[in-house]
């Protein structure tokens, strides 16, 4: 799925900052990788580069054989629209759209007809346990419910990759466990490749592999993937 080779990211300006320094990483199809690290060490930067939201300063970011760094903005946007789902720490729902409409927004770039959009959005919300909250605005939902809407939005387009940036960072412990359990369930059911950024160790330990990023350098600290068949 992903192959990163010597990826660096430096933010320029008066005080230049190296967010990533020579990251090498391979991520297989269907793998669940958790990336841990302290705030400001490059976790979110790595996730943004994996999702094509930002470009590396140097290095190669291959997704299914395509170097994202070499593609045009329009091509990367098309890949994001079709294949990559995002979940953010602050949910990032559109405040003026209902839960169903927020989920539909992910299908708009794929030119899905309106009626099919509505049906798929309703199904996705039902799948995350919000079948009776379709017309609620984000302001009418709890934090946990908002994150479920965001999960439904990320998965409604049946992506191959799910990138989650601190998905439980803004919810309480009980809700955190619910969210992670839901994500794990969906990961197993859908065969997604899931990369989850978290500073929360109990959350990270549920993943197959844990990468620790420290001052821009990534090391793998846990690998519970089954060994490949001989």
């Amino acid at each position: 799925m992903y192959k990163l080779t010597e990826v660096t990211k430096t933010y320029g300006g008066r005080n230049a900052v190296s967010a990533l320094r020579g990251v090498n990483l391979s991520i297989a199809d269907g793998e669940w990788l958790a990336i841990q690290g302290r705030t400001g060490h490059g976790k979110s930067t790595l996730l943004q580069i994996l999702g094509g939201l930002d470009r590396p300063t140097s290095g190669v970011v291959e997704l299914d054989g395509q170097d994202l760094a070499q593609l045009s903005e329009a091509e990367v946007t098309a890949i994001r629209a079709k294949s990559i789902g995002f979940i953010f720490q602050t949910f990032n729902l559109i405040p003026t759209l209902s839960a169903q409409e927020n989920v539909e927004a992910a299908l708009v770039p794929l030119a899905v007809p309106a009626s099919e959009r509505r049906d798929r959005a309703a199904r996705a919300l039902t799948q995350v346990g919000l079948g009776e909250r379709l017309r609620h605005l984000p302001s009418e939902l709890s934090g946990g419910q908002q994150q479920r809407v965001a999960i439904a939005r990320a998965l409604v387009k049946e992506p191959t990759v799910l990138l989650a940036d601190e998905p439980t960072g803004n919810v309480d412990e009980e809700t955190r466990d619910e969210i992670i359990a839901l994500l794990e369930k969906l990961w197993r059911e859908l065969g997604l490749t899931m990369i989850l950024v978290t500073h929360d160790t109990p959350v990270a330990r549920r993943a197959e592999r844990i990468g620790v990023i420290r001052k821009g350098k990534l090391t793998i600290s846990q690998d519970r993937r089954p060994a490949p068949a001989a």
């Binding site: 939201l53 930002d54 946007t77 629209a81 559109i94 405040p95 003026t96 770039p109 794929l110």
Partner: protein, 500 residues
């Protein structure tokens, strides 16, 4: 999704959207009101100017004299063509056209029939030259003795320097324009249509003073043969400064005296309206290619009074005020839209992360801005219509003073043109009613002050409304463009890391 998102977003920032819409509405409303008021003032001015039917003369037509014409010899040759004998007395009074060449009177009628011509009249501008001398005896050196001004006498002969004065032959049937129209009667009476064949004259007050003339005095008018005819002074007029004529006599008598029957040498033309002067001038030049066609100064600039002030106010101050308010409304719309986009940076970053292309995000912003613009335009139309209605209802009557009503010496009495009948003037160069419609009954007698009162209406046309709506949409597009530019430049990663 587009319309739903648009509607919901405008409702979320309703206050800001309403503020932008009101700004645009005021600008658009002002444009409509000022445009309507300007149109109303123009209509009022046109009504006033139309009623003037071109007071005074708009165009004069003359022709250069042909070589050798108009002058005259002193007839010094004696019998057999030789030098007259010493002591021969020579005295003559000759009337001639020296400045201008002849124009057939039928041309005057033809000019009168041209499109845009309210009236045309012919006149003869002549010079009366009186010479009185005694042929001197010539020495071998030749020439006359003496030579100072006034009488020069001596044993060899005497002469008086030629006495010149200008005479205008006035067509009494169309005297409302022509050489006598702007003069003011100071004593006696002016020439009447019934004087057409009479030996009567009206003299200028300056000429009367110089020659000690009064009503009832007699003046000698020469003819082409050098003989004098006595004309009786029936009136004295005060002509505007710059007027070149000393004596005014009926045209037919001037033609007969000068030997120019059926001819004139100046045509005075009045146009239907000030806006037609240029086209009439062209037509006359085409009709008489050799003639010199001269237009009078703009008629509109002669209209003074509160109508002229309103016109200036509407076109200058009103237009600039409307432009200033519109510019301010556009600037406000742009600033507020950019501010709204700034506050939605994370939202747009999320949409881009979901796969929305920049142009879709830009389209959303533009759509919101144009919707506000349309709303502002609709309200602006209402404000503009209300403003125009207020102007029509509350504007005080405007007055226009006429720069040139005909003078009191106008044959038939002073008057201003108009009266509402089409064609106001008859054909030119002839008697009443000849060749035209309306006749001279169309003239209104000048009974009161030459001031016209008009009531201002402010008409709103469909064109103005369409322009106003377009202006509002342009305002929306402009605001949307500024906001969209900002939204399009957003990099998703940077947008998502912004603190909401």
């Amino acid at each position: 999704m587009f319309l739903t998102y648009l509607r919901r977003e405008l409702r979320r920032r309703a206050r800001q959207a309403i503020l932008i819409a009101i700004g645009l509405a005021v600008g658009v409303g002002l444009v409509i009101t000022v445009t309507a008021a300007s149109a109303g003032v123009r209509n009022a001015q046109a009504a006033v100017l139309h009623s003037l039917y071109g007071v005074g003369t708009d165009i004069t037509v003359t022709q250069a004299p042909t070589a050798g014409s108009g002058g005259f010899g002193f007839g010094f040759r004696g019998r057999g063509g030789g030098r007259p004998a010493a002591g021969t007395k020579i005295s003559f009074n000759r009337l001639s056209s020296r400045e201008y060449g002849p124009i057939a009177a039928t041309s005057v009628a033809a000019i009168g029939r041209l499109r845009g011509v309210a009236a045309a009249t012919g006149a003869l501008t002549l010079t009366d030259t009186k010479v009185s001398l005694t042929i001197p005896s010539f020495s071998s050196g030749g020439g006359f003795a003496g030579g100072d001004s006034g009488n020069a006498s001596g044993g060899r002969g005497s002469f008086k320097l030629p006495d010149n004065f200008s005479i205008a032959g006035v067509d009494l049937s169309t005297g409302a324009i022509g050489p006598l129209a702007s003069a003011r009667l100071t004593s006696g009476r002016t020439l009447a249509v019934s004087d057409a064949s009479s030996d009567v004259a009206v003299v200028s007050s300056d000429y009367a003073a110089q020659n000690k003339l009064k009503v009832g005095s007699a003046i000698s008018v020469g003819n082409s043969a050098g003989k004098s005819t006595s004309f009786s002074v029936v009136g004295i007029v005060s002509a505007p400064s710059g007027s070149a004529n000393d004596v005014y006599i009926p045209l037919a008598r001037a033609q007969a005296q000068a030997g120019l029957v059926g001819q004139v040498n100046t045509v005075y033309v009045a146009a239907d309206s000030a806006t037609q002067i240029a086209s009439v001038r062209k037509e006359i030049s085409a009709l008489l290619p050799k003639a010199t066609v001269t237009t009078a100064s703009s008629l509109a600039s002669q209209v003074s009074g509160s109508l002229a002030s309103a016109s200036s106010l509407a076109t200058k101050l009103g237009r600039w005020l409307a432009i200033a308010v519109l510019a301010a409304a556009f600037a406000l719309a742009c600033l507020l839209t950019m501010s709204a986009v700034s506050r939605r940076v994370r939202e747009f970053g999320t949409l881009k992360a979901l796969g929305w292309r920049s142009r879709r995000v830009v389209g959303q912003v533009m759509g919101e801005a144009v919707a506000i613009g349309i709303a502002g335009g609709v309200v602006g139309i209402g404000l503009g219509l209300a403003g125009a209605a207020l102007v029509s209802k509350l504007a005080p009557p405007l007055t226009a003073s006429l720069g040139q009503a005909t003078g009191s010496a106008t044959p038939g009495g002073a008057r201003i043109f108009g009266g509402g009948q089409p064609g106001g003037f008859s054909g030119a160069g002839g008697f009443p009613g000849a060749g035209g419609s309306g006749g001279f009954g169309a003239f209104r007698r000048l009974a009161a002050s030459p001031t016209v009162t008009v009531h201002l209406a402010a008409p709103v046309t469909v064109n103005v409304i369409v322009v106003a709506v377009l202006l509002a949409i342009v305002g929306g597009l402009l605001a949307g463009a500024f906001g969209s530019w900002r939204a399009a430049r957003l990099r998703p990663a940077a947008a998502l890391t912004r603190v909401a």
